[in-house]
Symmetry: C2
Subunit: 361 residues, 2 copies
């Protein structure tokens, strides 16, 4: 373990993060749900969706562009089609609410589609897709982000790297879930290459004028490329329209920069689809067949030097198992959380050895 | 124009292809729908989904693994959830039928999901997604193929390059539709590189033992790689399960080789989803906003040397406009169609100058 990281118990970290959001004005249950989403992302090895976001969320609550509401408001409700206005609440509680609604409609009608406007960052999309799968529904989740990627051949950002998650019910121990951004790579990986002084693969990014680059610095000043070129671009584009236009919310550059002006709402849009397995097939047979298919992936022939094959969703599950209930935080994240605790007057345990709030570290 | 190609009027080609399928036992309207699907694919520049397939379709009808039925049978009908047994009929009529059902449920309930078992090749998925979009529904279409791709790091084919198409209603002249296979590249492009003696880009394929290759010959003997690695793999995997398990049909290697034994049914599965815009938003506003978003893509800044940017679905539309109602066929396809006409005793016009059937060329 590096000297620049701190290992903490996930349960204690959940408590700290929940205390911070309660102190910021969220109801206790909502604060806990947000904390669970962020800490679970840490356990699953996706720290970009983890507690580093606490600073952003608290800053936006303080500046008023994120509300402390626990739920959104249904503005249209027609059978399998529901529109929810999230009112710029944190995305975790409104996504929970939206997928619960989609599942409820799917149980009643076979399918449910919930479009969400005036949404905020909801963390990892896989979480809500799995929420549906646990209820024996195929779960589909998408959202839009501000434009980050050019069209193939373009030199301007015209579409977000809008994520898509799809979970399939399974009776196996390991959940089956796809969770992909529609960019070829994440900006975080380009920043890591920049730090390491390594070139990036062709196809990850273009420079600001749209020309291909393998230089991390030029890529950072430039744009992410869509995954598999026109495929990722097309997928990102139709997801943007589905999220933004079905909800009557924002799409394209009407979605604002997440890390931009904390006073301006982010204003993204979400989409949640649930398809109830029992309306089509015997759920037990369906789930057994899905688990068997994932097993076939795992036990397929491997290329030389490859130790293990993973079915979709398995890497995050494995990381969570390996974490044994502990999260490793970078020093900068520890410092941010400690400062937030001090500012909000709550105990910074487990990050300090204080026994009560108010004991400055 | 190359000496090895023949240019024919699309309308006359539609007539020939329809005559062939009528002679093979299809009802006239069904034969025309199949012909339209195949000839439209030619006009749209996707000849891999065009009239070259006539030979395969007729061969399978002759051998009994494709039926001449005009429609599938509804085996389960529960609100927004319908299961259709296509009975190994040609995919074009059963896909038309399935998407029409999905749209009808969407108009009634907000969304409709139709899963199809015992299906056959349906040509280009975009066609049925656009069928929904023309009815003011978001249209989503997927199907599975036999396994063609390994998991990342794998050395065995475990999942098809299962296509996904999504169309979004628009009031613009140019339809908005994503249509992607989940492989990074099509085998056809690898075969073209082999003919030209060119290396293929890294990331398109692996050799039979799963090791990366840029040699077309090794790639042809090996496997296609998923688009963007784990993203395309995960998408292909969940689409396989959604198509095969919701329909109670085949998934994984229970789907047989399309070009394999003509006596064994192909037995793929399809999925059609329609989401009715009017259940969520004002369709006129939705369609105007979608068209405007596509316009922004087209008119965005371009990288040096790039003449034009395309929104998803535009290239096929442009090719169709440019074709001016004419299709260019390779000599081998002309020979195949002419031989089929002779064998079935129908006129080979427009491919010959005969005025009637029975005049041998």
């Amino acid at each position: 373990m590096s000297a620049a990281t701190t290992r903490v118990a996930a349960e204690a970290l959940r408590g700290l993060v929940a205390r911070l959001f309660v102190a910021a004005g969220l109801p206790a249950g909502t604060a806990q749900a947000v904390a669970d989403g962020l800490v679970d992302a840490e356990l699953e090895g996706t720290s970009s969706h983890g507690v580093m976001l606490v600073d952003l969320y608290l800053g936006r609550i303080r500046e008023g562009s994120v509300s402390t509401h626990a739920a959104g408001t249904i503005v249209s409700d027609r059978g399998a089609a529901v529109v929810l206005d999230a009112g710029h609440a944190l995305g975790q509680p409104t996504a929970d609410q939206a997928m619960a609604l989609a599942v409820e409609r799917a149980k009643r009608l076979g399918a449910g589609v919930v479009a969400v406007r005036h949404g905020f960052h909801f963390g990892a999309a896989r979480r809500y897709a799995l929420q549906a799968a646990l209820a024996d529904c195929v779960g589909i989740v998408a959202c839009n982000t501000r434009p980050l990627m050019p069209a193939p051949g373009g030199a301007a950002r015209v579409v977000g790297n809008n994520p898509l998650a799809i979970a399939v019910p399974s009776d196996g121990a390991i959940p089956i879930v796809l969770d992909m951004a529609t960019s070829e790579a994440a900006m975080g990986r380009i920043r890591m290459a920049a730090k390491a002084g390594r070139a990036i693969p062709a196809g990850w990014a273009v420079a600001a004028d749209g020309t291909p680059t393998t230089e991390p610095a030029a890529a950072i000043a430039g744009m992410l490329l869509p995954a598999a070129g026109p495929k990722g671009f097309g997928l990102a584009f139709v997801l943007d329209l589905m999220c933004g236009l079905l909800s009557g919310g924002a799409s394209g550059d009407a979605v604002r920069p997440l890390y931009g002006d904390h006073e301006a709402p982010y204003d993204c849009s979400h989409l949640f689809i649930a398809i109830d397995v029992a309306h089509f097939a015997d759920p037990r047979q369906f789930k057994a067949a899905a688990a068997a298919a994932a097993e076939r992936v795992r036990h397929g022939a491997r290329a030389p030097g490859v130790a293990r094959l993973y079915a979709p969703g398995e890497i995050e599950w494995q990381r969570r198992s390996d974490a044994q209930g502990e999260v490793q935080l970078e020093a900068s994240v520890v410092a941010m959380l400690t400062a937030a605790a001090r500012a909000l007057g709550v105990s910074a345990l487990p990050l300090t050895h204080d026994n009560e709030a108010g004991h400055a570290p």
